[in-house]
């Protein structure tokens, strides 16, 4: 079998490559530093030079598919990846299964798993899908011990003008590797609350994370600390949720944690259904108490 991969997310892209390794020949297209992908088993890594735009990249990939023939296309689920997948599916008239985290290929049929109802259920489907957008976690990233040939292709200009590019700040944290995560939600109430929680994070030697409102809407924490469906998928030994209600999109990112501890002042908060240990109370009272018993 022949696969084509588009990746503009290093971690996810390497996971997809590791998943495909041994299943057939695959080529990777990326606007990232192509060397990063060179030791994950691809027959070729194609560096896409030029403006990072979904439509022209889809045109380039569609023409590669027409001339080289590929059985399946795997695309990282990113803003550009999802747009690209949509354009490509129209261009080559192929079915697409979005946001998968598990794929089994049998001849022309595929069976896939993805979340439905906002993360409440897992949909297991069989289809003629040829294109997949893939969320993180399809496999562990494992270098293949071989080295791929690297080449460059130029992306044509698209029908959108890029007027400026401003990098977001925020350093990368390795939440996926943390063994204890202390995660705060809207229940924190104020930005200054972060400083009050930090000593606790230090004491348990954990990493600080947050729900989407905390990271995206209020920006009390940087975006790379957002846990959930559209953030990081984490599986620490202990996940401590402080003032997080436990909406399904949040749960989708921490469901694989070994032990979940929740503090919430609302006894009916859904997070208690997803917790091993829950404390009903004000986080500003509960956290110092836990710290007291720890030291």
């Amino acid at each position: 079998m022949k696969f084509l991969v588009f990746s503009d997310n290093l971690d996810n892209g390497k996971q997809i490559m590791s998943y495909l390794n041994g299943k057939g020949e695959f080529v990777v297209y990326t606007p990232d530093d192509s060397k990063e992908y060179a030791d994950y088993g691809a027959s070729r890594v194609v560096y896409l030079k030029g403006e990072h735009q979904a439509k022209p990249i889809s045109e380039l990939i569609a023409s590669e598919i027409k001339s080289n023939g590929f059985d399946f296309v795997f695309i990282t689920s990113t803003v550009t990846g999802r747009d690209l997948a949509a354009f490509l599916s129209q261009a080559i008239n192929a079915d697409i299964i979005p946001e998968v985290f598990d794929v089994k290929l049998q001849d022309s049929k595929v069976s896939t798993k993805r979340y439905g109802l906002g993360g409440k259920v897992v949909l297991e489907e069989e289809s003629n899908g040829k294109i997949f957008t893939v969320i993180p976690g399809i496999s562990d990233a494992v270098p293949s011990g071989t080295s791929s040939q690297v080449e460059t292709k130029e992306i044509q200009r698209g029908n959108v003008n890029i007027l400026s590019v401003n990098p977001k700040k925020g350093r990368e944290v390795d939440l996926e590797k943390a063994s204890i995560i202390v995660s705060v939600g809207r229940g924190l109430g104020k930005k200054e609350g972060i400083a009050q929680i930090e000593p606790f994070v230090k004491l348990v030697k954990g990493e600080l994370a947050g729900s989407r409102p905390v990271c995206l809407d209020y920006r009390w924490l940087s975006e790379d600390r957002q846990v959930g469906y559209s953030g990081r998928k984490v599986k620490p030994k202990i996940y401590i949720a402080l003032g997080i209600s436990g909406q399904i999109q949040h749960i989708a990112g921490m469901r694989d944690s070994k032990i979940v501890i929740a503090v919430n002042k609302d006894k009916a908060a859904p997070i208690f259904q997803e917790a091993d240990y829950g404390i009903v109370g004000d986080l500003y009272q509960v956290v110092p108490k836990i710290m007291g018993y720890l030291s």
């Binding site: 979904a54 599916s89 697409i96 946001e99 906002g118 003629n128 957008t133 032990i259």
Partner: protein, 248 residues
């Protein structure tokens, strides 16, 4: 300068009200009402703010069922001028959804089409690209702010690692991110007025041939202990013990 804006609205089951059957792990959808999909609300808010700033008209299209009527009324109350519900929605068929919506959009003169970047229930994120491809109109993706000029639209696009300023000529498709705005709660008077306004309901004439077969739809198993303490002191003591054990 006034603009004709189209906003796309999805109706979704009220996710928080869905219970799971404890013996089969399957979701119980009977009797669960439909509500306004989250990002669709941001899309409508964006469209209405454009009208308030520049003048023009907002048309909303919802491909769903006639159970979407309350959602469209809510959109009217937010400031939508005319609404179309196309019935015959088939779940998990984004290509069909895009085809139906693009077919309707083509019949309506427009400068801008606005939709969410990723819907809250199915989260496919495919509609923006597919609609843009079918209409052959440029896609400005993941907007966190929008500004319109004579013949073009400019947005700030919130990508994973950077914020881009993007520009495209009208007619243009814009997908919005949740951060773009805080959708309004319409005043009671507007809600009452909206209730009397006519909604156009049309059946879809396009049939989809979806090859996708659902093998199972189950809530992931959750084997949590669910030990909940209402006594803060006891709870803190127990939790500290658990943390100590793991940290060792």
């Amino acid at each position: 300068m006034p603009y004709n804006v189209i906003a796309l609205i999805k109706q979704i089951p009220d996710l928080e009200l869905i219970k799971v059957n404890s013996s089969t792990s399957e979701p119980i959808l009977e009797g669960v009402p439909f509500r306004f999909e989250n990002l669709s609300k941001n899309a409508v808010e964006t469209a209405v703010r454009i009208k308030e700033k520049y003048g023009g008209k907002v048309t909303a299209i919802l491909y769903g069922s006639d159970r979407g009527t309350p959602v469209m009324k809510e959109a009217y109350a937010m400031g939508v001028d005319e609404g179309f519900i196309i019935t015959g929605y088939q779940e998990s068929n984004p290509r069909l959804t895009a085809q139906v919506l693009a077919g309707k959009i083509k019949q309506i003169p427009h400068d801008v089409v606005i939709l969410g970047n990723q819907s809250a229930d199915s989260m496919t994120g495919l509609l923006p690209g597919m609609i843009s491809a079918l209409l052959n109109e440029p896609l400005l993706s993941n907007a966190i702010s929008v500004e319109l000029n004579a013949n073009s639209a400019k947005i700030s696009s919130g990508m994973e690692k950077e914020v881009l300023e993007l520009e495209g000529s009208m007619p243009v498709v814009i997908s919005v991110a949740q951060e773009i705005n805080e959708p309004r709660f319409p005043p009671v008077m507007q809600i009452i007025a909206a209730g009397r306004k006519k909604i156009n309901i049309e059946p879809s004439s396009i049939k989809g041939n979806d090859s996708t077969k659902l093998l199972s739809r189950k809530a992931p198993k959750s084997d949590r202990k669910r030990v909940v303490f209402e006594d803060i002191d006891k709870g803190a003591q127990e939790v500290a013990k658990v943390i100590k054990e793991v940290a060792r």
